[in-house]
Amino acid sequence: MSNTLKKVLIVLGVVGLMVGSRFIAGMDEIPPISIAPEVVFRVAGYPVTNSLLLTLLADVLLVGLAFVATRKLRNGEGLVPRGLQNFAEMSVEGIYNLCRSVDRRNVDRFFAIAATIFFFVLFSNWLALLPGMGSIGVCRTHEQALVNPVHLEEQPVESPLEGAAPGEHTAEEHAAGPCGVDDEGHELVLVPLFRSPSADLNMTLALALISFFVTEYFGFKAFGLGYLGKFFNFKEGPIMAGVGILELISEFVRIIAFTFRLFGNIFAGEVVLLVMAFLLPWLLPLPFYGFEVFVGFIQAFIFMILTVAFIAMALTPHHPHGEVHEHPTPS
């Protein structure tokens, strides 16, 4: 048997296996894709969503790892790093140097926030890629899984992206699903226990708001009310006034951009993985998993570096014509 033939046979076998997996392990239909996080259970009306659960898991992991990694350091030992401590030092130092390359003088003031953004986003992106994170779950009705309970008195406009309205399908059609129906005939859906917090607008919006307010806080702290002169700048002619107003708008657009950049990337990645797994369950999702690992890192990095850059911009004196301001103290 020639070498070429062997290779061709291997390739054919792999492709055949991939196609065959569609019939061996394939799904009948794509699981419902929800843009909003789903409620796993409620505590006194407070919706505990699956993304919140993964948030807590990421918190515990991060703090636990940090605690273990720096145990020796906090006891005043461990000047020769080993293992986990070495890795933690490497990452923290890398982020610190990156932040310092952006703004040398004020790095100590915003470093904690920037690094926390990076680690938290990274963990929430990567943890959601672990097997079982999107597939193990509990059965809930549509109403139970909704974050914001539908107000029955106001009839919402029917939207096409929210999935099938309960009225369109009868419960019997979905009885073959993984959850079936409950006693009263309501259709049950599988609510995954964990969902990436980055694919939840609450988390991304919260981070975007934090980034925005921290930036403005540093700006006001450094320049006082003179910080507003960057936006309401009517002394230097109409063009500069227009630029100032544009800056003001872009300041608020940042919130939306931060929110939807992270959300869009991670959510789209999850949808792509789901669709690929639906098309051919075996091997096809593999390159996309690799790509999602990369995207998860890049998004965490971009969120951090943009926050740092915006803070650095807010801390830069913005009047080129020599008006006296209280400059940030060099440290």
């Binding site: 843009i35 390359s101 029917e158 992206l161 657009v253 939306i256 951009a257 971009i302 850059a309």
Partner: protein, 88 residues
């Protein structure tokens, strides 16, 4: 001609139109920022190639530029969401 499209026209629903509008908004909105980000990254890479010492500053500036270009796409994405979820 009309006979060809009439059945389709009669089938058009609000939800279908919204789906179409969402897809168009996201798809069309991705063209410009895609080109823009490509140009920004290419320029930054050229600059780094010519002056490797300035890589730190260039990288940060490149990300800021990319963020501005990407903001346009994100706005169209948001518009798409808003159409799709019948907010506007």
């Amino acid at each position: 001609m009309l006979a060809l499209f009439l059945p389709i026209l009669l089938e058009i629903t609000d939800a279908g139109l919204r789906l179409l509008a969402t897809g168009l908004a996201v798809g069309l909105g991705a063209i410009g920022p895609g080109v823009g980000i490509g140009i920004a990254a290419a320029g930054a890479l050229q600059a780094i190639g010519r002056n490797p010492e300035a890589e730190g500053t260039l990288r940060t500036t490149m990300f800021i530029g990319i963020a501005f270009a990407e903001a346009l796409f994100i706005i169209s994405l948001v518009i798409g969401f808003m159409i799709g979820f019948a907010i506007i």
